[in-house]
Every structure is written in structure tokens, then in C-alpha cells.
Symmetry: C2
Subunit: 254 residues, 2 copies
């Protein structure tokens, strides 16, 4: 049975998609069959992995209960599949609002495919609406990317409250997988201040590796490639390989 | 009567809030009474302007039709007021979903105060949901910040489609105020490629000034200050003063 991890943070532009696709690529390199679920109407994880969806997408799975099998496509990378998104997903939140058990739609969708993967990563949109709640119900844990800047840090308290509420009402098993510092720039005092504060508060829950600001990570998606394929020697690629190791080690301990 | 401009882009982290508060500060310096409406549940524009809301916020205005007057507070800057947000706004989208004329709530709220300001800027959340649609109905024009990176450029087409749909169904007067390139870094090929493509496609609709990546813009919010107060000599401050001039000049031409 796959471990399902939601990559979530309501703050925009903190590296959720970049983490979803590059961590997934690093995990698939260690021969762990991995699925990336793109739950964002922007469909950045879908295009960042070079996928052009032609048939069903996550929209049909949530709204018409189409089987996940029908929507899943393989990526250019061995051991890495994608459940793609498309723009119409933006309407799903309002459409789901009237459906009974609306928070369980993704959980039910993934039931059929969980035995085929070791890890499933869900890339969430920048909001705490019904789509992200669906991810938090389907997942066993949450990985939170935090950009080393003020607004991203400020929003963490609220995200923790939401996790607590989901734990109390919808998914008692939901844990914090870890907090990942992103766009770390050693030259900036702001970066150092934010990372010190986050590490002081969340202690061992913060991954030892911080993802540095590295242009290869921003260039790779325009070629539909992960950073591992685009520039395996880059600081960004090395950091995500390190993250995959740390994540797998933490998994063995618990 | 105030000109109402929505600052919108569904892509997260492109500089919507940074543009809202620093453009507003630059406009208020030219003695134009300005209001910033924080329409994001993250309430970043509220905290970035050093405001701690104690009474009503935009949430009460939209859901209970509380008068805007009751929620508006003054900032530390002359000629600059704020209609603050708070976290509960996240629930507003689902609460508004069942209300007739749900797209008009913000438009009605601002009716009473439009004659007191020259310009009203609405900081939108990173989504194309009911809150952003409310902003697009209340506004006469949209200013779109675009980060000089791949995903931000990719999402522009979809944003244009949404503007077209709002123009056809809800607000025929909605215009494109302008496209603002943000986090421009002259050293990066990616920055130059994206800005060339955006300028080629949108031509004179793209502001001449591009906002450079400048750490003062990221540091200022942790002091609850605009960049003009925090570091008036910084490249970020100069760029937003330039933007205010360009925006006011464009207004005089039309
Ligand atoms: N470590 C990094 N170094 C440099 N650029 C990065 C890094 N991580 C992400 N980026 C770039 O920053 C931008 C924001 O990242 P990304 O889109 O992954 O964030 P997100 O949280 O998924 O955004 P959204 O909230 O819109 O979903 C993208 O253009 C991405 O390419
Ligand atoms: N030109 C710039 N140079 C450096 N940092 C910037 C610049 N503009 C914005 N920032 C920083 O980048 C981050 C994202 O900017 P901001 O929060 O304004 O974007 P946003 O579009 O409002 O995000 P969201 O989608 O979450 O609402 C913030 O930490 C901000 O301080
Ligand atoms: Mg994303
Ligand atoms: Mg914002």
C-alpha cells in the first residue's frame, strides 16, 4: 500500500509544484514506483512533467467518479506516473460543495490504485479550500514547503490550525511528514532569520536539507523536465536527491 | 469617483500583495487618496501594512453586508486606508456560493465609499474562484503582475480567458489596466526570455518599468512597512514610484 503525502501550503509560490515533481523524480530513481497527483487547476505539475492530457483528468475522477486508472498516464521517467489536471478543475470546488461526503472524493478515487505505488504525492493549489481538504483527507501525512520569506512564515500558524481541524473531524491519522525550507539564499539575512525561526519552532520536523534558490529549478519546467533530467549536477537536483534520502530514512524509523 | 483596479493572477507568489501595497503607497505620495482592499484570506496586505484588525473585516462586508465604513482603517501613511482581511475569509467562497447575486457582493460593498478615494486597489488571492470574480466585477480594470518565470507566463492565457468571460457575463466595462513584470533579474536568461515573450505578445499593455528582484521588497513586510518607508532609496521603491507615474500618465491619456 502506497504512502500518500500531500504537498500543501496556502501561501502561493513557495515551491509546492517544484517539490512535488522533483521529489517524485528522486524517489522514482530509488526504484520506488511513484504517482504525482496534480490537484491544482493551474496544472503546473502536469506541464512541468511534460504531460498534455488528452482524456480524463483529476476533474473527471472527482466530479464523475471516473476511475483513476482511466486518467493516470506515464511520464518520461521510469517508475513515475501522473494523474493530470486541467483548467476546469477550478470549477470543481463549487461543484463539489453540494455533494454528500464532498471531502472524501479524492480518498475514494485513490483507493483503487494505492497498491500499485510505494509513494503518492499530491500537489495542492495555493488555498485551504475543498480541493486541499480532499488532499488532507486522502493523505496520511503532509509535507509543507516554506519559502524563506516573511509572508510564508506568517502563514504557517494558520496551516497548523487547519491540519488540527482536519485531524479532529475528517482524518485522525493525518501527520506532519516534515517542513521543507525552500528558495534558501545563504547571502540574505532574511533567509537566515526565517530559517532559524522555523527550525527553532518546529525542531526535528524541519528537514536538514534546505532547497537553495537555484535557477535550474526554474528553467527545467519550460522543457517539461524535472531538474534531475535537465541538470543533474545542479544544486537544486542534489538537494532534492538529498530530500528523498531523508524522507525514506525517516519512514524507516517510524 | 474612485478608479477601482483589481490586482489579480491565479499563479501564486508573483507579487500581487507586494504590488498592491507598494503601488498604493506610491500613489498616496502623489496626494491621491487610496484604499487597499485585502481580498485574500491570507491577509498579507493587512499585515504588510502593519494593521491588526480588531473589528469588522472584508469577511463581514461580504457575508453580513456590513458597511465598508465599519471595516476600513487608516494605515500609518497619509492618504492610504485599508479594508482589512482575516483568516475566516477562506470560508466565504463556500458561504457566498448559495447567495443570489453572489458575484456582486464586493461591488455593492464599495459603492458607498468610492467617492472618498481617487484609487481603490483590490489584492486578490491566488485563485480564480468566487472571491477573485467579485474583484473582477467590482473593478473597472485589472493589473496583472507576472513573475519572470515559466509557470507564471503559462497561466496568462487562462487568465485572459477568465477576463473575457467576466466581461461577457458580469462586467462589460472590465479592461486590462496593464501587465507588470516582477522579480526581474537581468542576470538570468530565463528572466530575459520570459519578459521578451510577454512584451512581444502584449505589446504596449506591458508597463515599461519592470520590478527588479530586490530584497528590500521581501524585508519590508516583516516590519509592517511599505518599501517606501522601509528603504526609499532601494531599487524596489524606485520601481514602484515609477509604476505609479506610468499608471497615472496612462489614465490621463484615455
Ligand atoms: N529553489 C528554487 N530556486 C529557484 N526557483 C524556484 C525554486 N523553487 C521553485 N522555483 C520557481 O519559483 C516559482 C514558484 O514555484 P512553484 O510554482 O513550484 O511554487 P508553488 O507553491 O507550486 O506555486 P503555486 O502556489 O502557484 O502553486 C516557479 O517559477 C518555480 O520554477
Ligand atoms: N520584486 C521582488 N523582489 C524580491 N522579493 C519579492 C519581490 N516581489 C515580491 N517579493 C517577495 O516574494 C514573495 C511573493 O510575493 P507576494 O506575496 O507579494 O506574491 P503574491 O502574488 O501576493 O502571493 P500569493 O499568491 O500568495 O498571494 C513575498 O515573500 C514577497 O516579499
Ligand atoms: Mg503549484
Ligand atoms: Mg498575496
Amino acid at each position: 500500500m502506497a504512502k500518500v503525502i500531500a504537498i500543501a501550503n496556502q501561501k502561493g509560490g513557495v515551491g509546492k509544484t517544484t517539490t512535488s515533481i522533483n521529489l517524485a523524480a528522486a524517489l522514482s530513481l530509488s526504484h520506488k514506483p511513484t504517482l504525482v497527483v496534480d490537484l491544482d487547476p493551474q496544472a503546473n505539475a502536469t506541464s512541468g512533467l511534460g504531460i498534455e492530457p488528452h482524456g480524463s483528468t483529476i476533474y473527471e475522477c472527482l466530479i464523475n467518479a471516473t476511475e483513476a486508472d482511466q486518467a493516470i498516464c506515464s511520464s518520461r521517467i521510469a517508475n513515475l506516473d501522473v494523474l493530470p489536471s486541467r483548467q476546469d478543475l477550478a470549477g470543481a470546488e463549487l461543484e463539489l460543495a453540494g455533494v454528500p461526503e464532498r471531502e472524501m472524493a479524492l480518498h475514494q478515487c485513490l483507493e483503487d490504485v494505492r497498491d500499485r505505488y510505494d509513494i503518492i504525492l499530491i500537489d495542492c493549489p495555493p488555498a485551504l479550500g475543498l480541493l486541499t481538504v480532499n488532499a488532507l483527507v486522502a493523505a496520511q501525512s503532509v509535507l509543507i514547503p516554506v519559502q524563506c520569506e516573511y509572508y510564508a512564515m506568517e502563514g504557517l500558524g494558520r496551516l497548523m490550525q487547519t491540519l488540527e481541524r482536519v485531524r479532529e473531524t475528517l482524518n485522525p491519522a493525518l501527520e506532519l511528514e516534515g517542513i521543507l525550507l525552500t528558495m534558501w539564499d545563504a547571502r540574505l539575512t532574511l533567509s537566515r532569520q526565517v530559517s532559524e525561526e522555523v527550525r527553532q519552532y518546529f525542531k526535528e520536523k524541519v528537514y536538514r536539507v534546505a532547497i537553495p534558490r537555484n535557477v535550474a529549478l526554474a528553467e527545467a519546467p519550460s522543457y517539461g523536465q524535472t531538474v534531475l533530467l535537465y541538470n543533474a549536477a545542479s544544486a537544486g537536483a542534489r538537494a532534492y536527491l538529498e530530500l528523498a534520502k531523508e524522507l525514506l530514512n525517516n519512514g524507516e524509523k517510524s
